[in-house]
């Protein structure tokens, strides 16, 4: 009779409004229902309007904790990564989103949480503290995150250098990292532009990475960040692009 263990919701002490703004928010039945509807709509939209295509597969045995990362050049990116996930994983996945954009007002926070399952990352204040809370969630092992290690959208479609935050999150944890490369999203919906245009979007799912042996220190973080960055950029040996920059992830429309 020793096996029962209760896992109380992390946000049990928070009212509904406080919880929406917390990285400890937990999805339950009602929000899972609204998210199911919104993900179905998003998947159809990507599939029809952007002729969305996924190359490669998420590992069949993938289960929390995991972190899905990608290059970031468009507001569509989070939708793309989440839409590509198998349905059985989507319930456990939270999108780490910029607090100053997605949680700027109560109404936005409500939409971001109920439709996209976002948790806020406040880029200016409370960085390390929020990182620690996210790291604890990963350590507890029942959560997956989608995040963009560049920390901001690229303004010209070329991938930015990764911030060390990803390393702080996963160095020395059991989390599986899935590096993903998004193509076409910049052309379809660049920053500072309004309506998305119907260009094709392709997602390439990379091989899983693990950093359970990396030390949780500056050195370990750098190790994590550089191998993830290399995994998304593709091998250095990849053929030079038209403008001569070797191996840069340029945002080209699909073949």
């Amino acid at each position: 009779m020793d096996r029962w263990r209760y896992k109380t919701a992390r946000d049990i002490d928070l009212g509904p409004a406080e919880s929406a703004f917390s990285v400890n928010r937990e999805t339950a039945l009602a929000s899972a229902g609204t998210q199911f509807l919104s993900w179905t709509a998003i998947w159809l939209y990507l599939r029809i309007y952007h002729r969305f295509k996924v190359i490669g597969k998420f590992p069949a045995d993938l289960k929390p904790p995991f972190v899905i990362i990608g290059n970031h050049a468009s507001h569509l990116d989070a939708l793309i990564l989440a839409a590509a996930l198998p349905a059985r994983l989507r319930h456990d996945v939270y999108i780490v989103a910029a607090g100053d954009v997605f949680f700027a007002s109560a109404r936005r926070a409500m939409l971001s949480t109920l439709l996209l399952n976002c948790v806020p990352m406040w880029r200016k204040s409370a960085g390390p503290h929020a990182m620690r809370q996210l790291r604890e969630r990963i350590a507890e092992g029942d959560t997956g995150f989608i995040l963009f290690p560049e920390g901001a959208r690229s303004r010209d479609g070329k991938m930015l250098r990764f911030k060390p935050g990803l390393g702080m999150l996963v160095a020395g944890t059991q989390a599986t990292i899935i590096p993903c490369r998004i193509r076409g999203a910049f052309k379809a919906c660049p920053p500072e532009k309004g309506m998305p245009r119907p260009y094709r979007i392709i997602l390439k799912v990379g091989e899983p990475l693990r950093f359970d042996n990396a030390p949780n220190s500056r050195r370990g973080w750098e190790e994590v960040v550089s191998s993830c960055e290399a995994a998304i950029r593709g091998r250095p040996a990849s053929p030079p692009a038209a403008d001569g920059t070797p191996g840069a992830v340029e945002d080209r429309p699909g073949e």
Binding site: R3, Y6, I12, G15, P16, E26, L29, A32
Partner: protein
Amino acid sequence: MGVNRWWDFQSALDHPATVALVVGVVAVLALSAALIAVLGRAKLVPPERHAELVARTKSWAVIVPLILLPVLAGSGWTILALALLSLLCYREYSRMTGLFRERLVSATVVVGILGLAFASLDNWYGLFVALVPIITTLIAMVAILRDHPEGYIQRVSLGTFGFLLIGSGLAHLGYLANDAQGRPMILMLLVCVQLNDVFAFTCGRLFGRHKLAPNTSPGKTVQGSVGALILTTILTAIIGHFVFRGTPVDTPIYLIALGLGVSGMGQFGDLTLSSIKRDVGVKDSGALIPGHGGLLDRCNSLLLVAPGFFYFAHYVGGAHSPLPIHLLTGQ
């Protein structure tokens, strides 16, 4: 007759006991508000204690209309309001115990709660009773679908317990609304259960010496419990005499038995939630009411009383509904 009865606000005050209970509740609320104002003006209580009393009174001023209006508005409103309360209480329960992560089990409980509301609206007692084994069986079935035997007994048990305690418990209060004396019975039960808590607290403060269940709920005392048992029994018997006038319940023995049942089961309901919270290791069941904890913390005493009262009224009292059976689904 028929479906109109769901929304028949016109007959709200037909039963004299309903009028008396509503007037009594509003009068007590107004009196205590006035008393607290006077105490504050005369500086008879310390300011921080006074602020707390004012906050309590304000929250009661919101809660009382929220309870009275659906009950007065008609059986349909009462049943729907209780179904909503039941869903919110189940939400807190599942978040406390971690059952909310088992979405299929939780969805089944929600279907069960909605099914009980449907059966109550339809006045279909057969379905109302059958839903308990149906939902229990369904929970045992859907919990297999994840093909994850670790924790199977735990999720089935937590789901079944949650459905029985909260879903079925509160639904019995809703089903009472179908009865000819539904309004006064529901109001009487709410008033007596609430005052039962107040009596236990007050008697405990005044005479409390021996702890009742120190591991479960350290604040409760034997003296508080016995005091509540006596006072609530007297109160229930007096109100019951007017509510049940002309029915077989209206004899001293039955009225006293009813009072003892309401007080005893009310106190056990309170201790049930205390036990759940202690077992899980949380202080409040949630944070829905700012500064007052969760909804379950407020209505824990009702969970066990409601079915007890329901079966007493139906089997001892011979209460019967004047409605045609099956309002929605036909004969």
